[in-house]
Symmetry: C2
Subunit: 294 residues, 2 copies
C-alpha cells in the first residue's frame, strides 16, 4: 500500500471520502461507533471491470450454453435461448428486475450446479479466472481490479471499518477470488446464493436460491441478513445498487466515463446518476478522479 | 482477561484445546491457514445456561403465548397449544427434528414478528434480557455467561481464529446480545433467521424462514452459507449440534454434570455423548474441567 488514496486525484470525490472517514471516527457530530462501521461495495463495475459483460454473467452464460448443449430441450427456453441467440432483451429485462425474467434466471441458476460440492464448483471458477481473458486488455480478470478501490478499502480498514462486497452475482463465485484480489474474507462476501444441503458429512448445492437475487431491494435485504446492520459506507455503479446506496450513511457512485483507459458507458446506470444527484451521493468519475485505474 | 484458560482445570480437555491450537498455528502437520481458522459455537448450553429452558425458547414461548391470547383461534394449534398447556411432547418432537413439528414451529416463528422493523424486534429482546431473571440464580441471563468459554474465545482470537456463534435459536435475538456478552460481532452470528423485505428505505421482517432451522444438518448448512467454509473448531452440547461438530477439524462437547454450581442433565444430549466418544471429540465436564462457571 502506498499513500492514502494515492490513485485518487485531489477533487470533490477524494475530499468527500476523507472528510466522511474523519468525521465518522472523530468524537462529535457524525461519529459512528466502531461496531456500526460496515462498508459494502458492489462487485462488477465497482471493484473490477464489467465490460463487455459482467465477469460473473460471462461465467454463467458459458455454463448455461454448455447446459443447453447437453440438454437440447432447454434451448428454446429462457435464459438458455437468450444466451444461445445473444438476445439482449432478456437480460435487459433482468436488469430492470422484471419478475418473469428474474424467475427464469433464478431457476436456471439454481439448477445448473445442483448437487455439486463447493470444491467442484470452486474448481470451475478457478479455471475460468485463470483461463478466460478480457477482450480489451488480453489478461485474466483478476488483473483488472481497480487500484483506487483497493486503496479505499485499506483506508476504511485502517479506520476500523469492516469491508464487505454485496453483488447481484454469485456469492460463491466471488468467494473464490475475494480474499486474493481484494483482501475480503469469505464471510464478508454477500451475493446471490443457492441453498446447500448437508448429508453424510458433505455439503452440496441445493435446488433453490435463498433470499432471491441480491439486486435492487435484494441488496439491503442480503446486507442486513449477513452484516446485521445497514451500511455506514456503500459504493456501487449501477441502477441495481440504488437501494443499497440509499440504505447507507455515505454513498459513492462510480461513473464509467473513460473510454481511453477503461470503458465509457451509461447503460444500466441511468437512474443511479439521477439518484446520486438527488440524494447528494458522491460521484466518482473514472476519468477525472482516478489517476491510475488498475 | 486473565491468564490463558484460567477457569479451566489442568485436565484432558484443557490440554486437548491447547495442543490443537498450538498445532493449528505452528508450521508442520496440522497447520491451518489463517483464512481457514473459523471457530463456531452453539449458543444455549454452550455459551450460557439453558435450564430450565433455553433462553431463546423462553423468549419465543412468551411471544407465542401472547399471540394466542390476542388471537384465540390459535390456541388449539401447535405450537401455541403446546406452549399454553406446557405439553413437552411437541418440543421433544422439535428437538428430534420431526418434520411436522418443525414445520409448525417454523410457520409460527415466521408469523409472530411479521412486518416488524429490526429496531422494534430488538427493543423486545432488550426488554426481555433486562427484565427476565433465571429462576435458579435470580439474575438476568446475560450475567450467566460461561466464563471458561469467554477465555476460550480469547485464546482462539489471539491465534487469529474468527469466532462465530451458530444457534438453532434466532439469529436476530442473539445479535442484540452477542457483542456485549461474548464479544462476537453481529456479522458472526449465525442462526435460524427470517426473510426481510426492503421497501421505502425500511427493512421489515418477511413471512418465511430462510434456509430453515439451524438445527442438526441445518447447522453446517448455515455455517457454510455465512462463513464460506466448514469450521476448524466447533463447540456444542446437544444432539442438534452433532452435524456441526462432525463438520469441524476439532470438536468439543460440553457435558452438564454439575448440579451444585449449575445443572446436571443429559436430555437432548444422549446421542451427542456417544458421537463424541465414537469420533474422538473432546468432552468438557462442567464439574471437572471448569474451576469457575460464571
Amino acid at each position: 500500500m502506498t499513500d492514502t488514496l494515492a490513485s485518487w486525484n485531489d477533487g470533490e470525490a477524494r475530499r468527500a471520502i476523507l472528510s466522511f472517514v474523519e468525521r465518522a471516527t472523530s468524537p462529535g457530530d457524525g461519529y459512528i461507533e466502531t461496531a456500526d462501521r460496515i462498508a459494502v461495495f458492489d462487485n462488477d463495475g465497482t471493484m473490477w471491470i464489467e465490460q463487455p459483460l459482467p465477469v460473473q454473467l460471462d461465467f454463467i452464460f458459458r455454463a448455461l450454453a454448455r447446459a443447453a448443449q447437453d440438454d437440447t430441450t432447454l434451448a428454446d427456453q429462457d435464459p438458455y435461448r437468450a444466451v444461445l441467440t445473444k438476445d439482449l432483451a432478456f437480460f435487459t429485462a433482468v436488469s430492470q428486475q422484471q419478475p418473469e425474467a428474474i424467475r427464469a434466471l433464478e431457476e436456471a441458476l439454481a439448477r445448473t450446479w445442483l448437487g455439486q460440492t463447493p470444491a467442484e464448483f470452486e474448481a470451475q471458477v478457478a479455471t475460468y479466472l485463470n483461463d478466460v481473458t478480457s477482450e480489451r486488455f488480453g489478461v485474466p480478470y483478476p488483473q483488472l481490479v481497480y487500484r483506487p478501490m483497493l486503496e479505499l478499502f485499506a483506508l476504511l480498514e485502517a479506520h476500523d471499518f469492516r469491508v464487505f462486497v454485496c453483488s447481484g452475482g454469485g456469492r460463491d463465485f466471488m468467494r473464490v477470488i475475494a480474499e486474493s484480489a481484494w483482501g475480503i474474507p469469505r464471510e464478508r462476501v454477500i451475493g446471490t446464493a443457492p441453498s446447500y444441503t448437508y448429508e453424510d458429512g458433505v455439503i452440496r448445492r441445493g435446488g433453490t436460491l435463498l433470499g432471491g437475487l441480491a439486486l435492487g431491494p435484494g441488496k439491503p435485504e442480503h446486507i442486513f441478513a449477513y452484516a446485521g446492520r445497514m451500511p455506514a459506507f456503500a459504493g456501487g455503479n449501477a441502477d441495481v445498487d440504488i437501494e443499497m446506496l440509499e440504505s447507507a450513511t455515505f454513498a459513492l457512485l462510480v461513473v464509467h466515463d473513460d473510454a481511453d483507459r477503461e470503458f465509457a458507458y451509461t447503460s444500466a446506470a441511468e437512474k443511479s446518476v439521477a439518484a446520486a444527484q438527488k440524494n447528494g451521493w458522491t460521484l466518482v468519475s473514472v476519468k477525472d478522479d482516478w489517476n491510475t485505474v488498475f
